[in-house]
């Protein structure tokens, strides 16, 4: 015990604060790394990195990869991999572009910008992604072909199905209502964004309270009340702070003037309007909440983790692990389709190279976010944070003016380094890899 005297703060008590707050040290490490990264870029760019404008752009650039990363968590947790998501995104994007610009307006006579066009298009895209995902899952689960091979084949097949369907052409312009999911073309404005933020705070606080009540009802130990209050304060601050930052980014004056002109009005002098929360970011948040509930509170999620931890045990417990594989890949396909909505709406077109290399970004996001490739471990929020870190790294380096090849070299190296740190961390904490 002699060496603990020489430390001003014994390691034990520092650990205990985290334990009292029931915060996952791994998550804290990631948040810490993210903050350091953001501050460093901000310093190098003379404060241009942490502006509302850049944060707004960063979030809308992250959405498409982050949505898919949540699905990739389930795929990797069940000891599989999906290399086809970028190509699958392209096929879904191609199908949706054709549905909204050709099939619905010309064949069915709905015309472009009909209010039914966007919903029908999205349903068609989701169905396409789900079916393709389920088919790949069936090949993995029932035909017992390794997922690496099935989806490596899928990577080639779906990229070129998209090409074949569209003859490699860019398709656009897309339906006006569809573009709402792209980011800048669909934001809630300041007032609605605050409203959504307040609702989110309400739900989060209710969640904390309900969890505490549930534990108390069974007589379990709960955190001290001050710890709950601290958590509630951090959560509230984070949500409202995020909304505040997005609301601080004003729509550029020239763009506003164009919007007014399009409506046949004249912009009043000195008029400003904030972007606020983008629709695509709300979609990501809803996906994240739904996927977290699935992971932690649904039977499906429980079986996903059990199967990843010990497939034999899952089977002996009566879980149909083959059908589970189909469902996991189908969900991955549906999320790739949802990302296709966001990505093509952001580009305002379907392009032939949409989603290229996304499979690598998505897998990297999940893995940086703490999903173990050996299966059984991973979190949704970790994967989203992983996607955010990847995107920040990429955008930050572009902003600093790092050459494109160097950017990719750094991103690749960071991925490997992140996994190494993760392995060391797990070894130290005694968790199974």
């Amino acid at each position: 015990m002699s060496d603990s005297i020489s430390h001003p703060i014994p390691a034990q008590s520092r650990k205990n604060i985290f334990r009292t707050l029931e915060l996952d040290t791994r998550l804290l490490g990631m948040i810490g790394a993210f903050i350091i990264l953001a501050l460093a870029f901000n310093m190098v760019t003379d404060g241009r990195f942490l502006t509302p404008r850049n944060i707004f752009n960063l979030t809308i650039q992250t959405v498409s990869v982050a949505i898919m990363a949540t699905g990739m968590v389930f795929v990797i947790v069940t000891r599989n991999i999906d290399l086809s998501v970028g190509s699958l995104l392209a096929t879904c994007s191609a199908v949706m572009a054709m549905v909204q610009t050709w099939i619905l307006p010309d064949l069915l006579g709905l015309g472009l910008n009909n209010p039914l066009t966007a919903p029908i298009t999205i349903v068609a895209g989701l169905a396409t992604g789900t079916l393709i995902g389920a088919f790949q899952g069936w090949l993995v689960g029932y035909m017992l072909i390794p997922s690496f091979i099935v989806t490596l084949g899928g990577l080639l097949v779906w990229r070129n199905v998209a090409w074949y369907l569209t003859n490699g052409q860019t398709i656009g312009p897309l339906d006006r209502n569809f573009l709402v999911f792209g980011g800048t073309n669909g934001t809630f404005g300041a007032t609605l964004s605050w409203g959504i933020g307040v609702i989110a705070v309400g739900l989060a606080l209710y969640g904390l309270w309900a969890a505490r009540r549930g534990k108390l009802a069974h007589g379990f130990q709960v955190k001290p009340l001050w710890a709950e209050v601290v958590m509630a304060a951090i959560t509230t601050g984070a949500i409202l702070g995020f909304v505040g930052i997005l609301n601080a980014y004003d729509i550029p004056v020239r763009r506003l003037a164009r919007l007014f002109k399009a409506r046949g009005e004249v912009m009043p002098d000195g008029f400003t309007s904030a972007y606020g929360l983008p629709v695509s970011v709300l979609v990501l948040i809803l996906v994240a909440i739904a996927m977290t509930i699935v992971a932690k509170r649904s039977r499906f999620g429980r079986y996903i983790f059990a199967t990843g931890g010990n497939p034999d045990a899952a089977e002996l417990a009566g879980i149909n692990t083959r059908f589970l594989t189909v469902k996991v890949f189908a969900l991955m396909g549906a999320l790739a389709a949802l990302s296709a909505v966001v990505a093509s709406a952001r580009l305002t077109n379907h392009t032939n190279d949409i989603g290229t290399l996304d499979e690598l970004r998505v897998i990297a996001a999940a893995v940086i976010g703490g999903t173990a490739l050996s299966g059984g471990f991973g979190t949704i929020h970790g994967a989203i944070l992983g996607a955010l870190i990847m995107q920040s790294l990429q955008s930050g380096m572009a902003m600093v003016g790092v050459d494109a090849p160097l950017q990719n070299i750094v991103v690749g190296a960071v991925l490997v380094l992140a996994v190494l740190i993760d392995i060391i961390y797990r070894r130290k904490t005694g968790a199974r890899l």
Partner: protein, 259 residues
């Protein structure tokens, strides 16, 4: 045949008749028949690789038989997967324990049979509360409810597997080497548990290496060798040496020992 009153009239709780299982060319179980009555403990003995685990995995739905029939309470049972077996109130403690190492004790105990809230979401608090209750009975020292079971000792893991089998009101309990990872004290606790479950009328198949355990806990013993059934005997009719020679020589003892 003075014990087990009514045993001659009532059908057995379980009857496995002429069961065969092969893996590739190997006949792991070859035309084996065993049975089990309520409140009875039947030991399954034999060398490693004799086919004991394979035989009981047919009953627990983990393996498919190539031939033979299973009767539960005299009626033919159709067991194609572990869920079917659970439907017949057959619970199994596997030799490998079959635990998902990344999940906590409660999640393992209720795996496949989660308690859910009115919204259909898994109710972790309720499951932990139930787990605490049954653990207080089976292993009062157990306290790592929040950790994944990979953090547990061999004995603690075993008690999770035992709790899972006992919790769901088994009528037929299969224990595949349940004391292999346990120390003498914990082994004694398992022995007491077996006596208690037996007194509740549960039928138990106990696979064990330990002839002493079998002599102490079982009413009957069936011995297997190389996939064949050597014979089934009443424990009070045989000695340790008789059982040992059945296991090693693969021959049933002569005379009154046959059941």
């Amino acid at each position: 045949m003075t014990s087990a009153p009514g045993a001659l009239m009532d059908p057995p709780l379980v009857e496995m008749r002429n069961i065969s299982v092969s893996f590739g060319g190997i006949k792991a179980v070859d035309d084996v028949s065993i049975d089990l009555y309520p409140g009875e403990v039947v030991g399954l003995l034999g060398h490693n690789g004799a086919g004991k685990t394979t035989l009981i995995k047919v009953l627990s739905g983990a393996y498919q038989r190539d031939a033979g029939q299973i009767f539960i309470n005299g009626e033919e049972a159709h067991i194609a997967n572990p869920r079917d077996a659970r439907g017949y109130n057959i619970e199994t403690i596997y030799q490998t324990l079959a635990l998902a190492d990344n999940l906590d004790a409660a999640s393992n105990l209720f795996l496949g049979r989660e308690l859910v809230t009115s919204f259909g979401l898994v109710d972790d608090s309720a499951m932990e509360a139930e787990t605490r209750k049954i653990m207080a009975r089976l292993n009062p020292n157990f306290e790592k409810f929040a950790n994944p079971v990979s953090a547990l000792s061999g004995g603690q893991r075993q008690s999770v597997a035992i709790a899972r089998a006992v919790y769901f009101n088994a009528r037929i309990l299969i224990m595949d080497e349940p004391t292999a990872a346990l120390g003498p004290h914990e082994t004694q606790m398992v022995a007491e548990l077996i006596s208690q479950l037996k007194s509740e009328g549960i039928g138990i198949f106990l696979i064990s290496h330990d002839i002493h355990d079998v002599m102490q806990l079982c009413d009957r013993a069936s011995v297997m060798k190389n996939g064949h059934l050597v014979g089934s005997v009443r424990i009070e009719h045989v000695s340790d040496d008789d059982l040992l020679s059945m296991i090693i020589l693969g021959k049933p003892p002569a005379g009154p020992a046959r059941s």
